[in-house]
């Protein structure tokens, strides 16, 4: 009986803590309303392609193509992105387009730059397979020097293993 009495008192005290009681300055504290941060999305440069990827670091209407860890083959989930880029490439006429190969941070000096280049070459070949003239396409590898995300998470690393496309200015 004594145990139940103590528990009841404790519950009353806890529920009292959650009430919005003004402090001496008249400020109201309500921890329930100050929860974790809300999302912040920029949809201006995204495409719905069924890949489940909702980020993009290409420009001029192109979309980035993403790769597996240490890989440079184009996954089937990226095929819609390649098709989108092929259509876009045909629309830019004779303007030069740059494919920028990028890597996550898990590699060392030369090998990582070469891996970025292989990714750019895979995208160029995939565009050619779509029947697009790629003579105005140039490739460059930035290795791990151009991350778009620096958080130590798998999703962040995945955003950095990419090929970006943009017009040469």
């Amino acid at each position: 009986m004594k145990k139940i009495y103590v528990s009841t008192i404790a519950l009353l005290m806890l529920s009292g803590c959650a009430q919005n009681t003004p402090d001496a300055s008249g400020n109201v504290s309500d921890a329930n309303r100050i929860g974790s941060d809300t999302i912040s999305i920029d949809e201006s440069n995204m495409m719905e392609d069924g890949s489940g990827i909702n980020y993009n670091s290409s420009s001029d209407g192109f979309v980035s193509v993403y790769f597996d860890f240490d890989g440079y083959t184009i996954a089937s989930s990226m095929e819609n992105r390649v098709r989108h880029n092929a259509t876009k490439l045909q629309s830019v006429g004779s303007r030069q387009v740059k494919l920028e190969g990028n890597c996550d941070e898990f590699g060392t000096d030369e090998y990582n730059y070469a891996l970025g280049l292989k990714r750019a070459k895979a995208v160029k070949d995939a565009l050619a397979d779509q029947g697009v003239n790629t003579s105005n396409v140039v490739m460059v590898s930035f290795g791990e020097s151009s991350p778009v995300c620096s958080d130590p998470t798998d999703e962040c690393y995945a955003q950095n293993r990419r090929v970006d496309l943009r017009l040469v200015r």
């Binding site: 060392t108 460059v140 020097s145």
Partner: protein, 415 residues
């Protein structure tokens, strides 16, 4: 605060050294000369003392007493407790508008002066180089094997932001650091001459990566070559007339040899995967390089004028960087298979013909191995849970040193 930093440095170094303690000790400790430092300066400079001590230690020729002894610079008095040392190095450091150093090498037993010299430079930032020069001069006077690599610049690239980097000069302890090329993405610096007056580097300023040669004293710069995709100067021949380049004119990285006198290029490898990191071996008749031709990064060897390629390393699933000196090969090997996060990379020493392989490190992530100019010491970058450090392993004496560094991610390094 300085004392706290020093204590942390000692703790960090000692802990990291402890984990590489499996190194084989090849040189008998008793063969090294016992030496003590006697500071005759008006004010003791801890950092300078530490640098002198590091120089003596990594030389592999001295057993240096780590205690600080103060005493008169000019007289021949020897503290009785120091008479058992083979040598005493008395020094007087004066820092003002520049750096001035006076040194005297005395015989421990009787105080006989063996060698004396003074150094003066109009710069205090370059103080570490004065210490290095003094120790290498003493080493030369005693006719020990050359350690003039102490005096060389280390050049490295550190990332400063997205597609932004700095090429930085440092002394081997990284106490001295000076950015010499800033702005944009400039990577893969490589010394272009024996006096470290000029260096090659790759600039991403234009549409295509371009290799430049720059005089670090005048800033005079000349374009060497451009390539689509990527371009790296991986090695320079001993007479500085030829370069081994990683280029990608066909969309994948291959190794080329560029003759600077004629401008002619020779394609050394031809593989539709990744071939990078070409290094001369066998009197520059062959190269050792990193290739993905087995499906993962590994070390291979190939004669420049013959097609056959053979593996040099038969262990590890990711051996992605190497350096050579004559026929010695040092490479980093991934020892764990975590896709993300921290992996263990260790350094191994082998020969270009394969055979005997010796581990140089045992824990942490050890990468960017580079031989000193004489091949006697290996530089590397160590990452561990305790932080980053630049490390040195003297291959003859198995002495190793680590200097904690707090800099952004290093992209490439040369020595």
């Amino acid at each position: 605060m300085r004392r706290l930093l020093l204590l942390w440095t000692v703790w960090f170094t000692t802990n990291l050294l402890a984990v590489d303690a499996t190194l084989k000790i090849e040189k008998d400790v008793e063969q090294r000369a016992r030496i003590a430092l006697v500071d005759g300066s008006a004010e003791h400079h801890e950092k300078f003392f530490d640098i002198l001590l590091s120089d003596l230690k990594i030389s592999g020729h001295f057993l240096a007493d780590g205690n600080v002894y103060k005493g008169s610079f000019s007289d021949g008095f020897i503290d009785p407790k120091l008479k058992s040392r083979d040598y005493l190095l008395k020094y007087n450091l004066q820092l003002g508008s520049g750096t001035t150093l006076y040194i005297r090498l005395l015989r421990g037993a009787d105080g006989t002066e063996l060698f004396k010299k003074s150094y003066s430079i109009p710069d205090t930032a370059k103080m570490p180089f004065v210490a290095h020069k003094a120790i290498s001069d003493i080493n030369a006077y005693l006719k020990y094997p050359d350690i003039s690599w102490l005096n060389r610049y280390v050049v490295f690239t550190r990332y400063a932001g997205k597609q932004t980097s700095e090429i930085v000069l440092a002394d081997y302890t990284f106490t001295y650091q000076k950015p010499i090329i800033r702005g944009g993405l400039n990577v893969f610096p490589k010394w272009a001459d024996g006096n470290q007056r000029t260096l090659y580097y790759t600039s991403y300023k234009g549409v295509l990566p371009t290799l430049y040669k720059i005089d670090i004293y005048t800033g005079n710069k000349s374009k060497i070559i451009s390539s689509e995709g990527m371009l790296v100067c991986s090695d320079v021949s001993k007479d500085y007339s030829k370069l081994l380049l990683t280029m990608a004119p066909h969309g994948h990285a291959d190794i080329y040899e560029l003759d600077l006198s004629t401008g002619s290029k020779k394609r050394v490898t031809d593989f539709h995967g990744i071939d990078v990191n070409g290094k001369y071996v066998d009197n520059e008749k062959s190269i050792v390089f990193i290739s993905s031709r087995l499906g993962y990064a590994n070390v291979f060897r190939k004669a420049i004028d013959a097609p056959a390629v053979s593996p040099v390393v038969y262990h590890g699933r990711n051996n992605n960087a190497c350096d050579t000196h004559d026929n010695k090969v040092v490479y980093s090997s991934r020892e764990s298979s975590s896709s993300f996060g921290s992996n263990t990379f260790n350094l191994y020493l082998t020969s270009s013909r394969g055979g005997d392989t010796r581990p140089l490190t045992t824990t942490g992530s050890n990468q960017f191995p580079r031989f000193s100019q004489d091949g006697s010491v290996v530089l590397y970058i160590k990452q561990s849970s305790r932080g980053s450090a630049i490390g040195y392993i003297n291959l003859a004496s198995s002495q190793s040193l680590l200097f904690p560094v707090s800099i952004n991610k290093i992209q490439s390094i040369d020595w």
